[in-house]
């Protein structure tokens, strides 16, 4: 399967009377965007109001509570459309051509759903830890209709955000990209013939599926109802997987992360040179032990069936998913498939505690995205998009996190994407 990504570099985002991408500037008319977002029954029913705002790198701006971040993209050629099964009709994506508004992002925010929304600071100490301090953010704040149940609100905000990204992404449809890159993986036989001497490598991609508010969707299917299965890596670039979860902000994989999965990118970087990138195996992190066993059994079975030599396993979240991570490692290693795991740590504020809930000596190659319990102090910002009311209640916050002067003392956990377990960032720990 072959996909061309056309990158349109976005250097600025501005509100305007029109909606267009011209000379690297994204012009947005908020009323047009809102009209498109509202053309959906869930949004109409559960969202009282939507406010759009812009946050740029370096500004004294804090966005919170952040739910998801989405990159605006648009399918230009090939089957299907962005976010199949949710926004577009179900059709296998990952081939043809897709345009990307590189440098821009849609950030969704609003009243808290669970405990686990986060903070994005565009400058200061917090900006060092989140990748979204470097993107030009169109922020969508969605207010629920009074009395809306949290699950309905979560779904409506999710749809609203995806619709916003779809609308904005479509503005790049007829724009000539600044750069085009091609990504291709091959069928089993074909790949083996092309690269007979290269090790066959797969990516075991663990998806957070802890419950109604901790979910991930694959082609519109709630991933807690899947058995482990295969995906072409390019499918993820067209929105086959999206985030509907409220895991701690630091290690939730936002939809932006799924679209720009760094493991996929780095494996493609080596594809055909030092390794043969065969495919992705997606597997879930359910709350039943039998599901954990089945999920890891199947991911191991699929890896064996594909004659893989090695896999990278990325976790999402922490705590009981550490058990899934270790099962996914041990079962692969025991059948001779070499593993490298990517995780993060909860080693306590002093760094002295046990980092993972589960462990095994076979997990001898681990990449860590750092200790999420590390304390940070975020300076006050001139402007807040969203609301500060929930800072004390978010995971990583505590009573008194929000200080009277508007500064925040909390754990890294509270910062969106800070310890991403796909290995999106440079942060680590020893």
């Amino acid at each position: 399967m072959k996909l061309e990504l056309g990158f349109i570099k976005i250097n600025d985002v501005q509100f305007s009377n029109e909606c267009a991408v011209k000379d690297g500037i994204l012009y947005v008319n908020p009323e047009d965007v809102k009209a498109f977002i509202y053309d959906n029954d869930d949004v109409k029913t559960y969202i009282k109001s939507i406010t759009l705002d812009i946050a740029k790198p370096g500004e004294s701006v804090r966005i919170t509570p952040v739910k998801d971040v989405i990159e605006p993209r648009c399918k230009v050629a090939g089957p299907g459309g962005m976010f199949p099964g949710v926004i577009s009709k179900v059709d296998t994506v990952g081939s043809g051509r897709t345009h990307v508004l590189k440098g821009a992002a849609i950030v969704t925010a609003g009243k808290i759903v669970g405990f686990q929304e986060g903070i994005i600071d565009m400058s200061g100490e917090g900006a060092k830890y989140t990748p979204f301090s470097k993107t030009l953010n169109l922020v969508m704040v969605a207010e629920p209709v009074e009395g809306t149940k949290q699950h309905d609100y979560e779904r409506a905000v999710r749809f609203a955000g995806l619709r916003c990204a779809t609308f904005v992404g479509a503005l790049g449809k007829d724009v000539e990209p600044d750069e085009v890159k091609t990504f291709e993986t091959y069928g089993i036989m074909e790949g083996a013939k092309l690269f007979p001497d290269l090790p066959r490598v797969g990516y075991v991609h663990m998806l957070q599926t802890q419950g109604l508010l901790h979910d991930t969707y694959v082609y519109g299917v709630d991933a807690k109802r899947i058995v482990s299965t295969l995906l072409y890596p390019t499918e993820t670039m067209d929105g086959a997987i999206l985030s509907g979860n409220c895991v701690s902000a630091c290690d939730k994989n936002t939809t932006y992360h799924h679209l720009n999965n760094p493991v996929v990118a780095e494996l493609f970087e080596q594809h055909g040179k030092t390794l043969n990138y065969v495919c992705n195996i997606i597997t879930n992190e359910n709350v039943y032990l039998a599901d954990k066993q089945r999920g890891s059994d199947w991911s191991a079975k699929l890896a064996k069936l594909l004659d893989l030599d090695a896999v990278i396993v990325s976790e999402e979240g922490f705590g009981n998913p550490d058990a899934d991570l270790i099962m996914n490692c041990v079962k692969q290693e025991k059948q001779g498939i070499k593993t490298v795991l990517i995780t993060d740590e909860y080693a306590g504020c002093d760094g002295k505690s046990q980092s993972l809930a589960d462990s095994d000596p076979l997990a001898d190659a681990v990449v860590t995205a750092g200790n999420a319990n590390m304390e940070v102090v975020l300076p006050p910002m001139d402007k807040v998009i969203g609301m500060l009311d929930y800072v004390d209640y978010c995971s990583g916050g505590h009573a008194g996190s929000l200080r009277p002067d508007g500064s925040i003392e909390a754990e890294l956990q509270i910062i969106t994407g800070a310890t991403n377990e796909m290995g999106f960032n440079c942060m680590s720990a020893r």
């Binding site: 032990l289 058990a323 462990s359």
Partner: protein
């Protein structure tokens, strides 16, 4: 936490869903439960059946106290 209680001489039965973690952290008597968000219940059952299920699980825990164990044990039933 299980270990700290057992260390002062109070035997502990750990009721949890993800028994591999319980084994890793060192519980000695383990009763597997239903699911993480509702270890001792099952919302898909009627109230009566759910209560019966919970009674059965806790009963197994009470019985586990009376079993002598010399190593970490997951009580399957």
């Amino acid at each position: 936490m299980v270990k700290e209680i057992e260390r002062v001489g109070i035997p502990v039965v750990h009721m949890c869903t993800i028994t591999p973690i319980s084994l890793t952290v060192g519980a000695n008597r383990i009763i597997p439960t239903i699911a993480i968000p509702h270890p001792l219940g099952n919302p898909t059952l009627t109230a009566e059946d759910e209560y019966a299920l919970r009674y059965k699980l806790v009963d197994a825990a009470i019985k586990a106290f009376s079993v002598e164990v010399d190593k970490q044990t997951v009580f399957e039933f």
